[in-house]
Symmetry: C2
Subunit: 499 residues, 2 copies
C-alpha cells in the first residue's frame, strides 16, 4: 500500500533524526576523545553532515509533502497533527536562512571563535571586536529573514530557534519580576549568610573516588549506564540521543561538589531526553520542548533537588564512604551552607542560584542593544562593566572575566541567554507543583529515592515531548500559567529562612 | 569563474569523503566507547549515513559530470586523470547494486550476524545455516550485477570491491606457489623449533605498564598521538582518517606480546593512511590502494620488521624498563623464539606467520565452492574440517573453532579473505626490496629508528595513493612484477635458518 504524504514525511524526518544523532556523536567525540590536532578534519565532517541535513530538510519534496499532509490534517490524531506542526516549524526555520547565509555564518563564527580565544589569551577585546561585528551583521540578516518567514519580530525569531513559544514580551514580564525582587534578596541572603559562614572544606579528592561517588548518585537518579556514558570534559554538557545518551562533568580534585553537581545538572537533561515519548523519539514531536525547558530539567535536579537539606542527608554518608572524610566541616548543616552560598562574582558559569539570573538579564539587555544598533560592538566592554556594576554592584577585573568570558556570541548564539534564566523560573514553578503533589518529597530525597520525582516529571513534562506549545505545557504540568511567582517564592523560602 | 565538470566532481567527492570519515568515527565509537545497549540507535545512524552516501554517489548529476569530465580528460594531469578513473570506479560499483538489494543485504547480514553469535553460543552451526544461506543468495546476485557492470567474472567482482586490480587468475597463481612450498616449510620449521623450544614466559603484566611500553614503541615508529588515538577493543582495528586516525589493540595481562604486536600491526595501517598523498586526501585517488596493500603495510610492520632479531634488540630494554622483567626467558634469543613460534592450530586470528596463509587458502576454496553452488551451506562444517585436515593436518574440536570462528561471511564479506594472504605476499616482496635499498636496516631497527623505513614506504607505496593500479604500483615500488617468490624466500631464510 502506498504511504500517505504524512507517512512519507515521517520517513524523511526519521532520517533527519539519525543525521542529528550522528552529528551529536561527532560533537561529543570532539569534546571528549578527539586528539587536539584533529579539529580541522572534524570541522569538515560536521559541515558536510550539517549541510546535508539542511539540504534534506529543505528539498521541494518535503515542501510538497507538507502541503499535502496539511491539507489532510483533519484525518490525523493529536500526536500526528502536532508532529506535522513541528515538521513545518523546522522546515520553515531552515528554509528561511538561504544556504549562502548559512555558509557565511559558519565561516564568520569559526573565525570569530578563533579570535575570541586569541583575545582571551591577549586580554584584549579589540582582537575580537571586528570578528564579532561581522557575526552581528550576519545574525541581524538571519533574524530579519527568519522573522519574516515566521511572522515574528527579529529578536523573537532568534529566541524561537532555541525556545519556541516564548516572545520578547514573555521575557520582559518575567525579567521585570526578577529585577524587582532579586537585588534585595541577594543583599539579604548575603547578610544572613555572613552571620554563619560555613567551615572551609579542604583536601584532595581523587578523580577515581569522586567518580565512584558520582556514579552512585546518578544511578540512584536513574541514569542508565547501559545506554549512556559519563565522561570528563572542560565544560559539562549532554549529547547523544535517547538510547545512547552522553553526559560529561568537570572534576576538581580540590572540591568534591563541582564534579558531582555538574554531573547531576547534566543528568537532569539526560533524564528529560530519556523520558521523551517513546513512539515518537525519531520524530519532531518526540523532541524536547526547547532550551528553556531543557534547562529547567537540569536546574530542577541541581538547584531544587540537590542544593537542599534533604539531599545533604542522602549525600553525607556517600561522601564518607567514597571520600573517607570526617570532621565538623562534613556535617549536614555545614555542607548545606556550602551548597547555597551566595556571592557576588563576575563569572556566570560559577554563579550561585541567586546571582545567576542577574548575569543573564544583563546580557539580555546588552545583546538586544547590540542587535538593534543602539550599542556598538566597540563599546561593549564599557557597557558590560557598567551593567554588572548597576545590577550586581561589581566590576570585572578584566574583559577576560567580563565580556570575553563566554563563547555564545562568538558562535552566533544571540537570543540564547534568556533561556537560561527562563529555565530557572520554570524549574521553580515545576518544583512547587511537584512538592504540592508529593508531600513526602524531602523524605524520598533524603533516602536517595528519585523514582517518584522521575515518574512525576515523565507524566507532566518529559512524556509530552513537543506535543504542546511551551506555555500550554507548563499550564498543563503545574495548573498555572508561566510566571516568576513560584520561583521567587522558592528562593525566598530557601534564602531568607531564619536558621 | 564557473567550475569545470572535473572540479565539480572534486567538490562532490570531498563531501563523500567527509561522510566516510563520519561513518568511520561512528564505527570506532561503537567498538570502543558505546554503551552496550545502544547498538540499535547506532545501527540506524550508520544506515542513514550509508544510504545517503550511496545516494549522493549515484545521483544523475554525478553521472553527467563524469561523462563531461571524461570527454575532457586529455586536459587533466596524471593525478587528476587517475582521480577521475577512481571516481568512475566508485560510482560504477555503487550504482551496480540497486538500493533494494543494498537494503536486503543490510537486513540479511544484520540478521545473520545475530544468529552467528547465537550459533557460537549454542555451538550449533544449524542455528546459523539458514541465515548464511540467505546472505549467500544475495551476495551471488550482487556479484552477478557488479560483474556485469564492471566487465568482471562474478567472484572477481567481489574481490574488486576490496582489492581492485586483482583477479582470480592472480590469486590462483600465487596460491599455487604457496601451496607448493608452505606445507613442507611448516613441517621443517616445527621440526627445527622442537629441538630448541623457548623457555616459557610467565607473569602478570598490568594494562597500564603494557600501554606505556606500546606507546613508546609506537612513538618510535612515528604514530602521531597528537592526531590519533590508541584504545583497547576486543579485536584490534584501525578507523578514522588521516588527521584523526584511531587504532586499537587487545591487551592480555598474561602475555606482553599480544597487545604490542596488535598495536604495531594497526600502526602499519595507520602509517599507510597518514602517508597518503597530502593534496589528494579527500579525493578517491588519495585513498589506499585496497585491502591487500593495506594488509601488506600492517604485516610488514608486524611480521617482517617486528618478529625479527633486530627488533628484539630494541625491545628487550623496553620490556625491562616498563615491565620490570629479568631472567633467562627475557634474553634476546628466547624472545625471538617466542615471536616466530610455529604451531598447527585451528584459529586463523591466532595463527603464526607460516600457517596463516594456509587458513586463508582453505577459506578461499570453500567460499568459491559455496558461491558457485558446488558446496551447500549445510555441508560447510564437514567440508571445513576436511579442508583443514588436508592442508594443515588438524581437525577443529568444534564448529566454534571451525567454520563459525569468523564473522566475515555472516556480514557478506565474500572475496575478502584472499586479500589477507595477498597482503603477506606483497609485504614479503616490499621487505626484500626495502632490505636491498637499505643495507643497514637491521641496525636501524635494533636502534629503534624507523624513520628510514617510513621514508622508503612513503616514497614507494604510501605517497602513490591510488594513482597506479595495484600491480603497477608493486612493480614501481619493487622493480618486479607481483609474485610469491620474494615472500617465500623471506620465509625460508627466517624459518629454516640453522641456529
Amino acid at each position: 500500500m502506498a504511504l500517505t504524504p504524512y507517512q512519507q514525511l515521517e520517513q524523511e524526518f526519521r532520517r533527519l533524526h539519525a543525521f542529528r544523532g550522528a552529528l551529536s556523536l561527532l560533537r561529543w567525540d570532539a569534546a571528549v576523545m578527539m586528539p587536539r590536532g584533529s579539529a580541522e578534519v572534524r570541522g569538515e565532517q560536521l559541515a558536510a553532515l550539517e549541510t546535508e541535513h539542511h539540504a534534506l530538510l529543505t528539498t521541494p519534496k518535503v515542501a510538497r509533502l507538507l502541503e499535502r499532509a496539511e491539507a489532510g490534517a483533519s484525518q490525523l490524531d493529536d500526536w500526528a497533527r502536532a508532529n506535522l506542526r513541528e515538521m513545518r516549524r523546522q522546515r520553515d526555520h531552515a528554509i528561511a536562512t538561504p544556504p549562502s547565509l548559512v555558509a557565511r555564518l559558519a565561516k564568520a563564527t569559526a573565525r570569530a571563535e578563533v579570535f575570541w580565544v586569541e583575545a582571551r589569551k591577549a586580554g584584549d577585546f579589540k582582537v575580537f571586536a571586528p570578528y564579532l561585528t561581522e557575526v552581528v551583521h550576519l545574525v541581524r540578516d538571519k533574524a530579519a529573514l527568519v522573522g519574516q518567514a515566521r511572522g515574528l519580530a527579529p529578536y523573537d525569531a532568534l529566541v524561537d530557534a532555541f525556545t519556541p513559544g516564548i516572545t520578547t514580551a514573555d521575557i520582559e514580564t518575567i525579567f521585570k519580576s526578577l529585577s524587582r525582587k532579586l537585588p534585595g534578596l541577594i543583599h539579604q541572603a548575603i547578610e544572613l549568610q555572613s552571620t554563619q559562614p560555613p567551615l572551609p572544606i579542604e583536601g584532595k579528592f581523587t578523580v577515581g573516588r569522586q567518580r565512584q561517588l558520582i556514579v552512585d548518585v546518578l544511578k540512584a537518579m536513574g541514569f542508565p549506564f547501559e545506554r549512556g556514558r559519563l565522561d570528563e570534559s572542560e565544560h559539562p554538557f549532554t549529547e547523544g540521543v535517547p538510547g545512547d545518551i552522553r553526559i560529561t562533568t568537570r572534576i576538581d580534585v580540590a572540591d568534591p561538589f563541582t564534579g558531582l553537581l555538574g554531573a547531576v545538572h547534566e543528568t537532569g537533561h539526560a533524564l528529560y531526553d530519556l523520558g521523551l515519548p517513546q513512539p515518537w523519539l525519531d520524530q519532531p514531536v518526540g523532541q524536547d520542548r526547547g532550551l528553556a525547558l531543557e534547562e529547567s530539567q537540569s536546574l530542577l535536579f541541581e538547584m531544587n533537588l540537590c542544593r537542599g537539606r534533604a539531599f545533604v542527608k542522602y549525600l553525607r554518608p556517600l561522601l564518607e564512604k567514597h571520600l573517607q572524610v570526617m570532621g565538623p566541616e562534613w556535617q549536614d548543616e555545614n555542607l548545606y551552607r556550602h551548597l547555597i552560598r551566595v556571592r557576588r562574582a563576575p563569572i556566570r558559569m560559577d554563579a550561585d542560584e541567586l546571582t545567576y539570573p542577574v548575569h543573564i538579564m544583563a546580557r539580555y539587555d546588552l545583546e538586544k542593544r547590540i542587535l538593534d544598533g543602539a550599542l556598538a560592538v566597540a563599546d561593549l566592554p564599557a557597557a558590560w562593566n557598567e551593567a554588572l556594576d548597576q545590577r550586581l554592584g561589581l566590576r570585572p577585573g578584566s574583559d577576560v572575566d567580563g565580556c570575553l568570558q563566554d563563547i555564545h556570541w562568538a558562535v552566533g548564539h544571540f537570543g540564547y541567554f534568556p533561556s537560561y534564566a527562563l529555565g530557572a523560573v520554570i524549574a521553580g514553578q515545576l518544583y512547587e507543583a511537584l512538592r504540592g503533589e508529593r508531600p513526602a518529597l524531602d523524605e524520598e530525597i533524603a533516602a536517595g529515592q528519585f523514582a517518584g520525582v522521575l515518574e512525576w516529571l515523565r507524566d507532566h513534562v518529559h512524556g509530552v515531548g513537543a506535543r504542546l506549545p511551551l506555555k500550554e505545557l507548563i499550564q498543563h504540568a503545574t495548573g498555572k500559567p508561566l510566571s516568576a511567582a513560584a520561583y521567587l517564592r522558592c528562593l525566598e523560602a530557601k534564602y531568607l529562612e531564619a536558621s
